[in-house]
């Protein structure tokens, strides 16, 4: 496939998926609203802070804590993946057959759907961030260009890891019809080790060291630190993310090759 043809496919897929997502804008707004876990955690940690314990031990002041959780909210909004559910439903309903019959890997369609959904989500997230700054004007900050660019890159890489991780699980549909159940197994480590409920520094050193060998801290905590401008506690964050992508990409390819042989085009 030539680059020009690839770009044309990307443009058409993104525009049609964006049109499709706009049909579901109300649902996407609700999804954006449902991702307020970081704000709840911010409220909890602020209480601990007021009592004189907790965040001080992390070396974060109140402003840094607020910015961290607001950044965690933004990072999560643009790194979330749902390919496992979409793929599982399509495989079980037989809709995957149509995608398999075309000379384009089906995962490209899911990727474009995710990117289009992120674009649809953008104004709702911006409105929520604006509301946050309105309620807490002293927390408002503007990252430097360097910070913003590195944060955007980290968010994209976090999304790539998330997407590949979920794709690997989704492909297990070819063996087990309910692969999404396996994805739920990942939710607890994701919740605690990603930095979503608390900055990673709150965990005991042993747990923290273990977490850094998993992909989870790079999905939220690392990009959130970059975006918030807080002191970076990660060493080689981008290198670790690149390594996870380099590991997951061939894994997805191998699983796909083995799994598609088992496809029975159920329901089709």
């Amino acid at each position: 496939m030539t680059i020009a043809k690839g770009l044309r496919i990307a443009r058409v897929l993104l525009s049609s998926q964006y049109a499709y997502m706009l049909e579901y804008r109300a649902e996407i707004a609700l999804w954006a609203l449902s991702g307020v876990v970081p704000f709840i955690m911010l409220a909890l940690w602020s209480q601990v802070d007021a009592s004189g314990a907790g965040p001080q031990a992390l070396g974060l002041n109140r402003l840094q804590l607020s910015r961290y959780f607001l950044s965690a909210f933004i990072v999560r909004q643009f790194s979330i993946a749902w390919v496992v559910w979409a793929f599982e439903e399509d495989a079980l309903q037989g809709r995957l057959s149509h995608a398999l019959l075309q000379p384009l890997h089906p995962l490209w369609r899911y990727l474009s759907a995710h990117l289009a959904e992120q674009a649809t989500r953008l104004p709702f997230v911006a409105a929520l961030v604006g509301l946050f700054f309105l309620l807490q004007p002293d927390t408002a900050w503007l990252p430097s260009l360097g910070q913003a660019l590195s944060a955007v890159l980290a968010i994209w890489m976090a999304f790539a890891i998330n997407f590949l991780l979920q794709s690997a699980i989704a492909i297990l549909c070819f063996w087990s019809e309910r692969a999404s159940a396996l994805e739920r197994l990942l939710y607890i480590p994701y919740l605690f080790l990603s930095g979503l409920v608390a900055p990673l520094e709150v965990f005991p050193p042993g747990v923290r060291a273990f977490a850094l060998w998993t992909p989870f801290p790079y999905l939220i905590a690392f990009p959130a630190q970059l975006l918030s401008g807080n002191p970076l506690t990660f060493r080689g964050g981008f290198a670790a993310m690149a390594a996870w992508i380099a590991l997951l990409l061939p894994l997805v390819g191998l699983l796909w090759k083995a799994g598609v042989r088992r496809y029975s085009a159920m329901g089709a």
């Binding site: 499709y20 019959l101 000379p103 496809y263 089709a268």
Partner: protein
């Protein structure tokens, strides 16, 4: 050289077995049982380029599984398969560009958007530039009698309009090999006729090869000079519909309109009385006795009208499947 060549093609699925009720559910939870189901058994056939072939068989006979193997969706368990010079399950881009599979009960169009949006995606995926895509969409839309429907959301289209739009989406890349699985399912008689006319036109214009399954015998009789009949996954017949009819029934159907009604006993000497409805009689008469028997009927009885036909093929195939006759 045939465009489709299947040799001893087989497909076996593993199917989970579960008894109904709570006890069955618990047993299934702890001791999963499955069995092998032979969906297709050593099926061999070939199709020449440009042919239109009907694929007949009862539900569960293995028609759809065969179409899925021919289009590369499902890997065969045994045998060999070459389609358009490719091994289908490798799903190489050139192979995928040369085929299409239309499933009457499944749609590829994006439900909430007009069909045009799906066509744009397909055009890009198959590498058609904008002007070529537009030309082909217009051409196919004209053949399918589609107009403003193409700019209405798919969910707002009638079943017939949707099926025609599905056909347009499936044929935009101008495949030379069409696998059609129940393309007229659920359509009314007029819509069925339009789809049939379109398929015949497409075959004529582009020399496309068509393998078609349908529960509507009218689709097969109108489009397919040749049929493949499969039963329990194995090939039962490969040839013309007419010859199939002769093979399945040694008799011809004679419809009579008599001047006065007669009891069945008075007609039994001419052949098997299939039905009597007042003055209308349907008799089954052995093919080699036909001329002599018709002459006797016309000489002995007061006949107002007489018509000789083959028994409806769907009745014959239905009887065949009910009897489970496989020779």
């Amino acid at each position: 050289m045939p465009i489709v060549c299947a040799e001893r093609l087989s497909k076996t699925y593993r199917v989970a077995q579960k008894q109904p009720g709570l006890a069955g559910t618990l047993r299934h939870f702890f001791w999963r049982r499955s069995r092998s189901v032979e969906a297709v058994r050593e099926l061999s056939f070939s199709i020449e380029a440009g042919e239109m072939v009907g694929f007949l068989g009862a539900n569960g006979a293995g028609k759809t599984t065969t179409l899925k193997m021919l289009s590369g969706l499902v890997h065969p368990s045994g045998g060999s398969l070459m389609v358009a010079g490719h091994v289908p399950q490798r799903r190489q881009a050139n192979f995928l560009r040369s085929i299409t599979l239309v499933m009457g009960q499944k749609q590829q169009l994006i439900w909430d958007l007009p069909p045009m949006d799906s066509f744009r995606v397909n055009a890009a995926v198959y590498g058609l530039d904008d002007s070529e895509a537009k030309r082909r969409i217009n051409e196919l839309a004209e053949m399918l009698e589609l107009g403003e429907e193409l700019t209405r959301p798919v969910r707002k289209l009638s079943l017939g309009e949707r099926m025609k739009a599905e056909l347009l989406a499936a044929l935009l890349h101008r495949p030379s090999l069409l696998f059609l699985d129940e393309p007229t399912l659920g359509l009314d008689v007029n819509a069925q006729a339009r789809v049939r006319a379109f398929l015949a036109d497409y075959n004529r214009r582009y020399g496309a090869t068509v393998l078609l399954t349908s529960h509507y015998m009218a689709d097969i009789t109108a489009l397919c000079p040749r049929v493949l009949l499969i039963h329990q996954g194995a090939l039962f017949y490969d040839g013309s519909l007419e010859a199939l009819s002769q093979r399945l029934s040694p008799c011809r159907l004679v419809r009579l309109e008599l001047k006065t009604p007669l009891p069945a006993s008075a007609l039994a000497s001419y052949g098997a009385v299939e039905a009597i409805d007042g003055r209308d009689v349907r008799l089954l008469i052995e093919r080699d006795q036909l001329t002599a028997t018709v002459a006797r009927l016309l000489g002995d009885l007061e006949v107002l009208d007489l018509e000789v036909a083959d028994p409806p093929i769907e009745d014959l195939i239905g009887q065949l499947f009910q009897q489970g006759v496989v020779q």
